[in-house]
């Protein structure tokens, strides 16, 4: 479904991604695991070209991706994205936020006038039902909790009826219980609908629990690729360099990542 060859992204003198090769099979639930700053987000954002790659080819569903307006729109219609900070529009209703997932497919002129085809409204309703928020459809989205906002984000992604969902740290701002709920909704829906998911995570426990295949990324390179049971302590040390040397020195994530200390403690228990 996704085929990446020689993907490199350079920011000035800094190489965020250094020649990534990756194939993702249709319907797979792939977890990209790695510390903050490893290049996970850049990798995801190169796939739907929110960040243009410096070098390399990316094929999605057999189609090469490029920056032409028409092909970009086609690509983004079939590749949905879920964000760490939900990125829902606060003053719109829950239903309208989900409907924005249909914007690439509905007639533009009508959508400017807030007119949507009934079929698309039905799709939005169905997606809200999947994340069990149909009773909140008329509420303003800024009245919801963090976990509910992320479920709106998932419903918006599903409303695109995409072939691929890119989830960029979808649970990094949520508490552990809510995180599991959100990841469960994402996994269930994508399984039932046959959607390929590439999900960035930095929590090893969630990666083990939800990933069918895990790709470890460290300083812009793929350092591990395999099933969760092959994710051994040696592999973790490779993904998170400096993790086992010294409890205090091992800080793979900067302080902005609220869950980073939890992750480190967990990894040390494992080690």
């Amino acid at each position: 479904m996704i085929r990446i060859r020689g993907l490199t992204k350079r920011y000035g003198a800094f190489d965020a991604l250094k020649g990534i090769d990756l194939d993702v099979a249709p319907g797979a639930f792939l977890v990209v695991l790695g510390p903050s700053g490893a290049g996970k987000s850049t990798l995801l954002r190169c796939i739907n070209r929110l960040t243009p790659p410096t070098e390399g080819d990316i094929h999605v569903d057999g189609q090469p991706t490029n920056d032409g307006a028409a092909s970009l729109r086609r690509l983004r219609c079939s590749v949905a994205m879920i964000f760490q900070h939900y990125n829902v529009v606060p003053r719109l209703s829950v239903q309208k936020n989900v409907l924005t997932g249909r914007l690439g497919s509905v007639p533009s002129l009508l959508s400017w006038l807030q007119v949507f085809p009934r079929a698309d409204v039905a799709i939005a309703r169905e997606c809200l039902r999947r994340v069990e928020l149909e009773d909140k459809a008329e509420l303003r989205t800024d009245t919801l909790s963090g976990g509910q906002k992320q479920r709106v984000g998932i419903a918006r992604a599903l409303a695109q009826q995409p072939k691929v969902i890119l989830a960029d740290e979808p649970v990094a701002s949520l508490d552990p219980k809510t995180s599991r709920t959100v990841l469960t909704y994402l996994k269930q829906a994508s399984h039932e609908l046959g959607i390929t998911v590439v999900c960035n995570l930095h929590q090893i426990d969630y990666a083990r629990e939800f990933g069918e295949r895990i790709v470890g990324v460290s300083s812009g390179r793929i350092v591990f690729d395999g099933t969760p049971d092959r994710l051994t302590d040696d592999v973790l040390r490779c993904i998170y360099p400096g993790l086992a040397e010294n409890g205090n020195a091992a800080a793979p994530a900067p302080a902005i990542e609220t869950h980073a200390p939890r992750l480190r403690d967990f990894a040390l228990e494992e080690a």
């Binding site: 929110l50 529009v89 924005t100 959508s111």
Partner: protein
């Protein structure tokens, strides 16, 4: 420094020169003020000598000619009408360009700078000057006043509109971009919901300013109550002038109160 039982607490000047740099700055400031006073012929002596004349002028205005109120109703209504259309046309002129003048939405920086400069120019020309130009173009009456307020207001509204666009959360914009939404869809579903309350507050403020300006536009023949004001002064009917000034004060106060309350209500509602 001790002065009797008091202490002068002034930070000690740093550097080897002691107090001399500060003395130099004080002297330069004194020279600047003296120079500006010479140029503008500020003279408190002249003001004191003129006081009897001012008293004479005020006594001629007293009591205000209440019978003149009848003749002011129509011009006062016309002033409000000028302000309404001046504001509306300013909004219509500012709306399409404000997106080009916002750093985060502009297609390229050349367009951004060009539009900014156009807004600066229209805002830089005073309404009275614009009114003189439009009176020459379309003749005496309220319409040149409307045009003057529209052009100057468009410059001001365009600047404020684009500044509130620059302050919005970029996350939802990126999310909409990743759904394959077009630029206008992104503006309607991502930008407008985030800026609309700020915009309404600015438009209300602009209406209030326009009402104040519309009262003086009549001085150059651009309709409204200012025309009566100047007319009565030219005919030495100072009691009529007093009535005009009172009506203007009441109108401006009413507009100020109303727009302050409306803006407060809108800003409360946005929380």
């Amino acid at each position: 420094m001790n002065i009797g039982s008091y202490t002068l607490l002034v930070a000690r000047s740093t550097g080897s020169l002691g107090w001399w740099p500060r003395a130099g700055i004080a002297a330069a400031a004194a020279v600047l003020l003296w120079w500006a006073a010479r140029g503008s012929q500020v003279s408190f002596g002249e003001l004191a000598k003129g006081l009897p004349w001012i008293a004479d002028f005020l006594s001629r205005m007293f009591p205000p000619n209440w019978a003149f109120l009848d003749k002011l109703v129509q011009p006062a209504i016309e002033t409000i009408q000028i302000a309404i259309w001046g504001t509306l046309l300013a909004v219509i002129l500012a709306l399409p360009v404000c997106f080009l003048a916002a750093r985060n939405l502009t297609p390229n920086m050349a367009v951004y700078h060009a539009v900014r400069q156009v807004l600066n120019i229209t805002r830089g020309i005073n309404e009275i000057i614009l009114a003189l130009v439009f009176v020459a173009a379309v003749g005496l009456g309220p319409f040149p006043g409307v045009l003057a307020l529209a052009v100057h207001g468009a410059g001001m509204l365009g600047k404020f509109f684009s500044e509130s666009i620059e302050e919005i959360d970029q996350g939802p914009i990126e999310a909409l971009r990743s759904t394959g939404a077009g630029p206008i869809q992104i503006i309607i579903f991502g930008v407008l919901p985030q800026v609309i309350t700020a915009w309404i507050a600015v438009v209300l403020y602009r209406f209030e300013t326009n009402l104040r300006q519309a009262t003086v536009l009549g001085m150059v023949g651009a309709g409204g109550i200012g025309f009566e004001l100047v007319g009565s002064m030219k005919l030495f009917q100072y009691q009529d002038t007093a009535t005009c000034i009172l009506v203007i004060i009441v109108m401006v106060m009413a507009a100020d109160t109303m727009s302050t309350q409306l803006r407060a209500r809108i800003q409360q509602g946005s929380r």
